[in-house]
Every structure is written in structure tokens, then in C-alpha cells.
């Protein structure tokens, strides 16, 4: 059972939220950002090559051209593999844990799994960034020594930065599953 809705991110670009319910206690929420546009890629490449050609015309050194090609290739690979995040997803499995995945444009996926025993709660926090107030969803981790304390805050959806309406949807879905563990008869 999957549904997709469109929202806006904090900087105004359109993002898509896809919700899938795999079972009664397992939900997947994925936020997809805009893909890499061919326009911006060609614009960046042409700018770099024009600059390199200008330098070549001034200095008559052909190494400048090969260096420019090299830099463009390496820069593109680094950007696709380490910087551009296509999709960030949250997989909540009640009684097992929460899995946070970021997929990069080159296909690389970086995953973190947090066990349910460590999760205290999932909340929406406010942050003041420059002149704006932005909202972000985060997971609060339990402190082993202090039962009421929070040992760490794990922020989610860092690169797509959805706005409050999208975050509220995600928050509601997560809380439905987290509540199930409170109503469970035995302690986990």
C-alpha cells in the first residue's frame, strides 16, 4: 500500500513523500529530492571549459586544457558519490528498530540502524538558522545511565529539509508505530 504526495522543502524546491505500509508494525517513509538536471550540469561544465580555454589562449600551455577536463571529471564523480543525495528514507519496524537510509546520485546507500531499545522518542524540533526558523525531525536516543535523559539527538532528512506539513505526516506515521510498543504487555 503506497501513496505519494508532493510538498516543498525549506528552500522551495518540490519534494515527494512516499509512504508504504508493509505490515501492521512496519512502515517506510521516503523523501525524494529533485534529480540532477542536465541543464545545470552542462552549464557548469561549459563554464569551466570556457574559463580553461581562456587561460589557454593567454598562457599557450596545453596542460591547462587537460587539467580542466580532469578536474571536471573528478569533480563530477565526487559530487555524485559524496554530495548529491537523491532520496532519504525512514524504515520503522516496531519491536526491531528504526533504519535511516540516504541514497546518493551514484547509487551509493549509507544506512544506519537504531535499535528500538535505544529509541526514546521521535520529535519535531525547531532550530534558528541565520534569519530563519526551520523545523526538523529527530530521533532522541535513550541514555543508559539516566532513564529520563537523552544521550543523543539524531536529525533526519538533513539534505531534503522538508517543511512542517511534510514533517507532521512523517511524525504521525512514526508515532502510530511507536505507540504500539507502549501498549505491548511485556517490557522491551
Amino acid at each position: 500500500m503506497a501513496e505519494e504526495r508532493w510538498f516543498r522543502s525549506a528552500s522551495g524546491v518540490p519534494i515527494a513523500l512516499r509512504r508504504r505500509q508493509h505490515s501492521a508494525s512496519c512502515r517506510e517513509l521516503a523523501v525524494r529530492g529533485p534529480r540532477l538536471q542536465l541543464r545545470s550540469l552542462s552549464a557548469a561544465t561549459s563554464a569551466v571549459w570556457l574559463a580553461a580555454y581562456g587561460l589557454f589562449a593567454v598562457s599557450e600551455n596545453s596542460m591547462v586544457l587537460s587539467a580542466a577536463i580532469f578536474i571536471t571529471l573528478i569533480g563530477l564523480i565526487i559530487y555524485l558519490h559524496f554530495v548529491k543525495i537523491d532520496q532519504e528514507s525512514l524504515l520503522v519496524i516496531g519491536s526491531l528498530g528504526i533504519q535511516v537510509t540516504s541514497s546518493y546520485a551514484s547509487g551509493k546507500e549509507s544506512t544506519t540502524f537504531i535499535e528500538m531499545g535505544q529509541v526514546k522518542d521521535v520529535v519535531i524540533n525547531e532550530a534558528i538558522y541565520m534569519q530563519k526558523v526551520i523545523y526538523y525531525l529527530c530521533i532522541l536516543l535513550r541514555d543508559p545511565e539516566d532513564p529520563q535523559g537523552v544521550s543523543e539527538v539524531v536529525p533526519l532528512f538533513q539534505s531534503s529539509k522538508p517543511r512542517l506539513d511534510c514533517l507532521i505526516e512523517v511524525y504521525k506515521s512514526c508515532q502510530e508505530i511507536l505507540e504500539q510498543r507502549k501498549t505491548a504487555p511485556q517490557s522491551s
Binding site: H22, S23, A24, S25, C26, E28, L91, I93, G94, S95, L96, Q99, T101, T111, T112, F113, E115, G117, P144, A184, P185, Q186, S188
Partner: protein
């Protein structure tokens, strides 16, 4: 409450039988380790499980039944399997059945002794048994007994599979009463090369230990402890590096088996690091000795030393004149300049005295590169230190003069203002001086003050030269440290067998079907490369800057001698 069943993916095509594994009641999860096939005698199964439990300290028991019907559903088999639940009483009794080649299995539980039988959700998690058995979780949690309730759930699962290795030793070709299916049931895996290496390593270790004990006996002998020699050994970085490598060899050649994962990785890392080091050293040596490059190097060494000395002479002539337009005190300038020029003259004479022997010395010293690239780099650093010894001497002279001057100036300045340093109270007190004391003091103060620019300039120039040499040596030592401490074996393991070093797990949701339990695939999430380097870094006698920038600047200003790199094991003075 949700029931989680961890099923090994290798048993997906096994014949019908009963499931054995471990039931973790705090987490309501069952870790299935193997499937026991028909025919079996229940008493023998219980006996076998008791034995396994004794050997592995894992509470292995019969958890449920598994039916894999390749044809239509057999009614008799399902009834028979239900009856088995009464023989091996386990609460809850898990029944998994697979029809034909379907991916979607039906899973149900039988709870006989519960008051309110509720429909609980079942999650089926597939895991790769071999990978989970061989993997090692980071950060390692201390296994403080079985009763650790806060212990991570995943580490319990990894622990269970890893400790049940003896269960995986029987394969289906064994003539025993019990027939099992697990990841090794098609035959126990082993490698001939690994076994041969293991057999050969014992005598090799003993030989190495014997040689090392001889060597360390020689090193510790009284002959080498006399003052000039011991001072020399402590100053040369080559000897330190050799001592460090000797320690490494001792670690590798020890006969005791590694107790924990960390120790095993450390031994392996040291071994691979030594191997690569020696290989690179031999490569360097073969490159150096080809086409008589050593001869060329020796031939260029003397002219380079001469060139450096000539440049220094030019520098001193410049200082003795009017450097940068500043006007120096003629007499002091001439004295200092002539003093340093004479030193350079002596130095050049010594170098020329040595010049016929340089090639031979270099040839033999170059042979020691076969001990490793790090040793070769340390020798290079030592050669640089020896060749620039005169710069070091000049720096010390200049610094001492400047230091004396600064102290004299500060004390006489206090006298000029009528104050005195109270050594007892460690503070400045006022003091009444006699007239003649004041007179002499003020005179000396003015003399020192007007001689300050000259001394300061000499000090500045030689400090800069010394800092340059120190930076070059520091860079070489940084490289040596890098080669020493990089855990190459762990990095190669992370590259080739990434499941061995696990930072955690990741779950993938497989195809679902309504009415059937949730299917997940558990995969191992490997540790990042940065994490690997951080966890398995080898400790070194690292040299790191002992002063912060502020204290360094203060020392430079006051003229105290600076030794920017501190070695571990240096006594604090």
C-alpha cells in the same frame, strides 16, 4: 507482542524437519541455527542438544517444526508435526511451512499454556549464517555475563551464532543419528594453504623467538651502555625505529594464541605492515643500487655540503655588512661573524677529510634499507641532522647569547626602576640601591640595550634556519609514523571481506503478501574506512608537538632552546 524469527537463508531449501536454535525470551525472538531431519529419535536429539549446550554455553533447544512440501500439502505430515510439539515442549511452538517453490511461507505459533491466546504478528528475518558467524560487531560491548538486559539485541544474535560453531561441524556425510542442515552441511570448509601455514608457523615462531632473544640480549649488554654510545643511541632516530620494529617482531613471534579479536587483528596488522615495509625497502634498495646511483649520490653529497657552507658564509658576510639597511654595532658584528665563519671553516675541513670514505659508508648504510622503508627514511632524517649539525650549533650559540642578553636586560631594567626579583617570594619587590650600584647598572643596561639589535638579528637568522631543518625532519618522521601505524590488514579485510568488520546491520523489506508474515532480509552494515583506521591503529612512539603555539612563541621570544618534537618516553625536564 511481535514474535521475531531469525531464519538462516541456507535452510530455505532444506527438507522437512524440526528447527533447533535459541529462544531469547526478553526480546521475544527465536534464532534458528539448524534443521534436524527425519528420521530421528527424540531422546537422541535431546542428548545431542544437551551436549552442544554444554560445549558452547548457548541454550540450544528445539523451537518448532519446518515443513517443505514439494508436492501438494500433505495432511499427515502437518498432523505429525503438531504432535511433535507435545514431545519437545517449547513455548511457543513455531510452525513454518513452505509450499513448492513459493517465496511466501506460512508461519504460525502454538501456545498451549497461555491464558489469552492472542494473534501475534510474526516477523520473518532472513540472515546469512556464514557471514553473521564470521562477523565482529564494533564497538565491542563487554559481555558482562548473560544477564545484561541492556545488551544490544543484535549483539545477542551475533553472539549466539558465533558461539555455536561446534553445531556447524557435523555435515551430512557424517554417519550419525542426527542429520542437520546448516550453512556447512554440504561439507566442512577449510583451506589447505591456511592449514599448512598454521603448521609451519609454530617452528617459525620458535626460531624467531630464539633469534630475537639473542638480539635483545646483545642490545642490553653492558658494552653498549657506556655514556657516549648510549647518548648517541638515544639521539639517532634510526635506533628508535629499529627498537620499535624489534618490539613488533616480539609481539608476532609470541607463542600464545591471541585471546581476543583485537589482539588477533593487531598481530595481523603488525605482520602485514612489516611485510610491506620490508618489500618497499627492498624495492628502494634495488632501485638505489642499480646504475650505481649510490655512487652518484655520494658524489653529489660533498658538493652539496660545500654549497650549503658557502651559502652560510655569504649569509654571514651579509650580516657583517649592513643587512637590510640596518646599522649594526661594528665591533660585536665582526666578533660574532668571525666566530661563526671559523666554525664553518672547521666544518668544511671535516667534511673534506671524510670525503674519500663517504661512498663506502653510504654503500653499507644503504644496505640497511632492506630492513624496511621506515628505517631508510629514518636514516635519511639522521643524515640530514648530521649534515646540518653546524646550523644546530649556530642556533644554540645564538640562542644562548640572546637568552643571556634578555635576562640581563630584564634584571637591569628592574634595577633601573628600583625593583628587585625576590627569589624567596617569587615576586618583584622594591629595593633601595646604592648610588654606585645604580650607576654601574644603568651603564650596563644601556650597553646591553644598544647591542640588542645585533644579537637579535643573528638569533633570528639562525632560528629560522633551524626551524627549516626541524620542519623537514618532522615531515619525514610524519611519513614514518604513517607507515608504522596504518592498519593495512584491517583495511584490506574491509575491502575484500567487508562483512567481517560490522558496524551494525541493515534490513531490507522483501516482497510481501497479505496474510503472510512480514519478510525482512538482514544484511551486515560494514564499518567505514575511517572507523577501521580509528579502531585498529597501531600505537607508535609518535612524535607530536609538545608546545602549543603560544608557548612556542614565548620560548622563541625569550631565547630558550626549542625542541619542538617530543618523543614518547622522553623524561620531562
Amino acid at each position: 507482542m511481535v514474535l521475531k524469527v531469525f531464519f538462516p537463508s541456507c535452510c530455505s531449501s532444506a527438507d522437512s524437519g524440526i528447527l533447533i536454535g535459541r529462544w531469547i525470551s526478553e526480546q521475544n525472538s527465536a534464532v534458528i541455527l539448524a534443521v534436524v531431519h527425519f528420521p530421528f529419535i527424540p531422546v537422541q536429539v535431546k542428548q545431542y542438544l544437551g551436549e552442544v549446550q554444554r560445549l558452547t554455553e548457548v541454550s540450544v533447544s528445539v523451537l518448532g517444526s519446518w515443513s517443505n512440501s514439494k508436492q501438494e500439502k500433505e495432511e499427515r505430515l502437518s498432523k505429525f508435526l503438531e504432535d511433535l510439539g507435545t514431545i519437545f515442549c517449547h513455548e511457543p511452538w513455531i510452525q513454518i511451512s513452505k509450499e513448492g517453490d513459493s517465496k511466501f511461507w506460512s508461519c504460525s505459533t502454538l501456545q498451549k499454556h497461555s491464558e489469552n491466546p492472542q494473534e501475534e504478528e510474526i516477523i520473518l528475518v532472513y540472515y546469512d549464517q556464514r557471514k553473521v558467524m564470521l562477523s565482529h560487531l564494533h564497538p565491542p560491548l563487554d559481555t558482562a555475563g548473560q544477564g545484561a538486559e541492556d545488551a544490544s539485541k543484535l549483539s545477542a544474535i551475533f553472539d549466539t551464532v558465533a558461539r555455536s560453531q561446534v553445531l556447524f561441524m557435523t555435515d551430512r556425510y557424517d554417519e550419525g543419528p542426527i542429520k542437520l542442515t546448516h550453512w556447512q552441511s554440504d561439507g566442512v570448509e577449510a583451506s589447505i594453504i591456511v592449514e599448512l601455514l598454521k603448521q609451519a608457523s609454530v617452528p617459525a615462531c620458535m626460531l624467531l623467538t630464539f633469534l630475537l632473544s639473542l638480539l635483545s640480549g646483545i642490545c642490553r649488554s653492558r658494552v653498549l651502555k657506556f655514556w657516549p654510545l648510549s647518548f648517541l643511541w638515544s639521539k639517532l632516530s634510526t635506533c628508535e625505529q629499529l627498537g620499535h620494529r624489534l618490539q613488533h617482531l616480539q609481539v608476532i613471534s609470541s607463542n600464545r594464541k591471541a585471546q581476543s579479536q583485537n589482539q588477533l587483528m593487531r598481530k595481523a596488522n603488525i605482520f602485514v605492515s612489516l611485510l610491506i615495509d620490508v618489500a618497499l625497502g627492498i624495492l628502494l634498495m634495488s632501485w638505489l643500487y642499480r646504475k650505481n646511483r649510490i655512487g652518484h649520490l655520494a658524489d653529489t653529497l660533498i658538493p652539496v655540503a660545500d654549497h650549503v657552507a658557502e651559502e652560510l658564509q655569504d649569509l654571514l658576510q651579509w650580516l657583517m655588512g649592513a643587512p637590510a639597511g640596518l646599522k649594526m654595532n661594528r665591533a660585536l658584528d665582526q666578533v660574532l661573524g668571525r666566530f661563526f665563519l671559523y666554525h664553518i671553516h672547521l666544518w668544511i675541513s671535516y667534511i673534506h677529510l671524510l670525503s674519500p670514505f663517504i661512498e663506502m659508508i653510504l654503500w653499507y648504510v644503504g644496505l640497511s634499507a632492506c630492513l624496511g622503508l621506515t628505517v631508510a627514511l629514518c636514516i635519511l632524517s639522521d643524515i640530514i641532522a648530521l649534515l646540518t649539525f653546524h646550523i644546530y650549533c649556530f642556533y644554540v650559540y645564538g640562542a644562548r647569547l640572546y637568552c643571556l642578553k634578555i635576562y640581563g636586560l630584564s634584571s637591569l631594567w628592574r634595577l633601573f626602576r628600583g625593583k628587585k626579583w625576590n627569589v624567596l617570594r617569587q615576586r618583584v619587590d622594591s629595593c633601595s640601591y646604592d648610588l654606585d650600584q645604580l650607576f654601574i647598572g644603568t651603564l650596563l643596561f644601556t650597553i646591553l640595550l644598544f647591542l640588542l639589535p645585533t644579537t637579535a638579528l643573528y638569533y633570528l637568522v639562525f632560528t629560522l634556519l633551524r626551524l627549516l631543518v626541524v620542519i623537514v625532519q618532522g615531515l619525514i618522521h610524519l611519513l614514518v609514523d604513517l607507515i608504522d601505524s596504518l592498519p593495512l590488514y584491517s583495511l584490506i579485510l574491509r575491502l575484500c571481506r567487508s562483512y567481517r568488520l560490522a558496524a551494525g546491520v541493515k534490513f531490507r523489506v522483501l516482497e510481501q503478501q497479505d496474510g503472510k508474515p512480514l519478510r525482512l532480509l538482514m544484511q551486515i552494515n560494514p564499518l567505514s574506512y575511517g572507523g577501521v583506521v580509528e579502531t585498529y591503529r597501531l600505537p607508535t612512539y609518535s612524535c607530536y608537538p609538545k608546545d602549543s603555539w603560544a608557548s612556542l612563541c614565548k620560548k622563541l621570544f625569550l631565547g630558550e632552546l626549542i625542541y619542538p618534537w617530543k618523543h614518547k618516553g622522553d623524561k620531562q625536564n
